[in-house]
C-alpha cells in the first residue's frame, strides 16, 4: 500500500490517505463483544473454582497422565504407520490372497467403532484367559496371563495402532500410486524384481508424499487417546477423571486437561510445520513433474 505522498506536476506533495476498512472494524468489534461476554461468563462464574485449576495444572497425577498420553500416542502412531505401509503394499500386490487379506483388515478396522475395539482388546481375557506362544507339537514356548498382559496401556496401544493402520494404509496407497509408472518401468528394465522395485524406487518416493500427512495423524492421535479413559489407561483424561470423581471438580479438571491437550497440539503443529517445510515442497515438485499433464496434486497441508 502506498504511503509516500504523490507529487503533482507543479511539484506539490499531496499525502495519500489511509484506507478505512469498515467491514473489518465492525467484524472485530462484534467478535470482541461476543467473545468478551463469553469469557466473562466463565471467568466470573461463581460455580467455577479457578484456584483449583491452578492447583491441579501441575498436579503429579496429571503430569504422569500426560507422559502416558504421549507414550501411547507415539507408540500407537509408530504401530499404525508401520503396519499401514505394509497393508498398502499388500493391497497393491500381485498376489490376490495378500490383496484380499489387506482389504479385509481395512474393512474390519474401519467398519467397527474405535471404542468397541478398545473395549474388545481390554477384555480379551474373556475369550482367551491365557495367551500361549508355542512351537507346534512340542511343549517349548511362552505363556502369559491375558489379564496381566492386556493392561489399559497395551489395549490402548493396540486398539489405536491397529485402527490407525487401517486408515493410514489408504494414505500410503494413494502415495504409492502417485509415483509415476515410468519409475516402475525403469526399475524393471534394469532387472529389479517387483519387491525390490517397491523398496528401492517406489516407496522412498511415495514416503516423501506421505510424510506431511503423518503430522495430522499424530495430532489427531494425541486427542483420540482420551478414549483410553474407558479402559483405564492412566492417560491424561483417565487421571483427570479419577480426580474429579473423588472431588467433584468436573469443569475445573476438564479445563486442566484441555489446556494440556491444547499445548501438546500446539507443539505438534509447530513440528508438523517444520516437517512440511522439509519434505512438503520436495514432494509436490516430485509429483508435479512426474505427472505433468495429468490433473493430480497431493493435498500436502491437509
Amino acid at each position: 500500500m502506498r504511503t509516500e505522498p504523490i507529487i503533482t506536476p507543479d511539484g506539490r506533495p499531496i499525502p495519500v490517505a489511509r484506507p478505512r476498512h469498515w467491514g473489518r472494524l465492525l467484524a472485530g468489534a462484534g467478535a470482541a463483544l461476543v467473545f468478551g461476554w463469553l469469557v466473562l461468563l466463565v471467568v466470573t462464574n461463581p460455580n467455577l473454582d479457578w484456584s483449583a485449576v491452578g492447583r491441579y495444572l501441575f498436579d503429579g497425577q496429571i503430569l504422569a497422565g500426560i507422559l502416558v498420553t504421549l507414550e501411547i500416542s507415539v507408540l500407537a502412531t509408530a504401530i499404525g504407520l508401520t503396519l499401514g505401509v505394509l497393508l498398502a503394499v499388500m493391497r497393491l500386490a500381485h498376489n490376490p490372497v495378500l490383496r484380499w487379506l489387506a482389504t479385509l483388515y481395512i474393512w474390519f478396522f474401519r467398519g467397527t467403532p474405535l471404542l468397541v475395539q478398545l473395549i474388545f482388546w481390554y477384555n480379551l481375557a474373556f475369550l482367551f484367559p491365557v495367551l500361549v506362544l508355542r512351537v507346534p507339537f512340542t511343549s517349548v514356548g511362552l505363556k502369559w496371563d491375558t489379564n496381566e498382559l492386556m493392561t489399559g496401556f497395551t489395549a490402548a496401544m493396540l486398539g489405536l495402532g491397529l485402527n490407525l493402520a487401517a486408515y493410514f494404509a489408504e494414505t500410503v496407497r494413494a502415495g504409492i500410486q502417485a509415483v509415476d509408472r515410468g519409475q516402475t518401468e525403469a526399475a524393471y528394465a534394469l532387472g529389479m524384481t517387483p519387491a525390490r522395485r517397491m523398496r528401492v524406487i517406489v516407496l522412498p518416493q511415495a514416503l516423501r508424499i506421505i510424510i506431511p500427512p503423518t503430522g495430522n495423524e499424530f495430532i489427531s492421535m494425541l486427542k483420540t487417546t482420551s478414549l483410553v479413559y474407558v479402559v483405564a489407561g492412566h492417560d491424561l483424561m483417565t487421571n483427570a477423571s479419577q480426580i474429579y470423581k473423588s472431588n467433584n471438580l468436573i469443569m475445573e479438571l476438564l479445563i486442566v486437561a484441555s489446556l494440556w491437550y491444547m499445548l501438546m497440539t500446539a507443539v505438534a503443529t509447530f513440528l508438523q510445520g517444520r516437517l512440511e517445510r522439509r519434505f512438503g515442497s520436495d514432494a509436490v515438485r516430485l509429483v508435479r513433474r512426474n505427472l505433468a499433464g495429468r490433473v493430480f496434486l497431493p493435498k500436502v497441508a491437509a
Binding site: H94, D180, G182, Q183, E185, A186, A187, Y188, A189, L190, G191, M192, T193, P194, R196, V200, I201, P204, Q205, R208, R285, L286, R289, N290
Partner: protein, 253 residues
C-alpha cells in the same frame, strides 16, 4: 553372425485392439537396427516386448537365445516368474522417451543403483564404476545433481549411462530424443553414435532419419502392427519399395 533378436509372427493386443499383427524382425550381434513408422504403428510396443515389459500373445520372440516369457520343460512352455523376468532383463538396457530417471536419487545414484541392488556389487565399487560411466557420457561434473536440476539432454545421457552400468548385451532405445528441445538432440545422438561405433547391439525406435542413415545397419519401417519393409538405410531411404514407406518418408523428410 548369431541373431540377438529373432521375431517371427509376433502378435500383441490391448484388449480388442490388435497392436502387433505378426512382426518378423531380426537383429544380429553388433548391429544397429533403426525402426521408424507412424505413431500407433506398434514400433514402441514391439520394443517393449523384446525385454518383456509387454507380453507376447502369439508367434515367437527369441531374445539372447531365449523365448521371451517362457521356458520349455517336460514338453510344455512354462511362464516365467517375476524373478525370472528380472534376471532376463539384466542383460538388456533400455532408454525411455521420458528418461524415467529415479527422481529421488542423484545422477550418480541412478547409475549405481542397478549394480548395487540388482548385481549386488559393493556400493563403493559401484559408485566408482558409475562415475566412469558418467564420464563416458560427459557428465562426471554433474554426478551429484538430482534429475530435476539437469536439462532434458543431460537427463537422457544419465539414463543411457544407467542402462550401460549393467553392461548389457543389447540396448533398446524408445524414441530417445522425441521429448527433447531441438538444440539438445545432438548431444544425445552423439553418445548413441559413440556407442554404436563401440560395437553395441542396438534397436533404436526413432524419428531421426539422419541418425538412421549415418549409423544404422538396417532400417525397418513399421505400419499397422507389421514390418512393411526392411533393408540397408540408404537403400530404403533412397528407393522405398512400398507406397506406405514412400508416403511416410515424404511426410517426415
Amino acid at each position: 553372425m548369431s541373431a540377438v533378436v529373432a521375431a517371427s509372427g509376433v502378435r500383441m493386443s490391448y484388449g480388442d485392439t490388435q497392436v502387433l499383427n505378426g512382426v518378423d524382425f531380426t537383429v544380429r550381434q553388433g548391429e544397429v537396427s533403426c525402426v521408424i513408422g507412424p505413431s500407433g504403428s506398434g514400433k514402441s510396443t514391439f520394443l517393449r516386448c523384446v525385454n518383456g515389459l509387454e507380453p507376447v500373445l502369439g508367434g515367437s520372440l527369441r531374445v539372447l537365445g531365449e523365448e521371451v516369457g517362457h521356458t520349455l520343460g517336460a514338453g510344455r512352455y512354462h511362464r516365467w516368474t517375476p524373478k525370472r523376468f528380472a534376471a532376463f532383463r539384466r542383460d538388456i538396457g533400455m532408454v525411455f522417451q521420458r528418461f524415467n530417471l529415479f527422481a529421488h536419487q542423484t545422477a550418480l545414484e541412478n547409475v549405481a543403483c542397478a549394480p548395487i541392488h540388482v548385481a549386488g556389487r559393493p556400493p563403493a565399487e559401484a559408485r566408482e564404476l558409475a562415475l566412469r560411466h558418467l564420464e563416458q557420457v560427459g557428465l562426471a561434473a554433474h554426478a551429484h545433481k538430482r534429475p530435476h536440476q539437469l536439462s532434458g539432454g543431460q537427463q537422457q545421457r544419465v539414463a543411457i549411462a544407467r542402462a550401460l552400468a549393467m553392461e548389457p548385451a543389447l540396448m533398446l532405445f524408445d524414441e530417445p530424443t522425441s521429448a527433447l528441445d531441438p538444440e539438445l538432440v545432438d548431444e544425445v545422438l552423439d553418445v548413441m553414435k559413440a556407442l554404436a561405433r563401440g560395437g553395441m547391439t542396438m534397436i533404436v525406435v526413432t524419428h531421426e532419419i539422419g541418425f538412421a542413415r549415418e549409423v544404422g545397419d538396417t532400417l525397418t519401417f513399421f505400419a499397422d502392427g507389421v514390418v512393411v519393409e526392411s533393408g540397408r538405410p540408404e537403400a530404403v531411404l533412397a528407393d522405398p519399395a512400398h507406397e506406405r514407406t514412400r508416403a511416410f518418408l515424404a511426410s517426415v523428410l
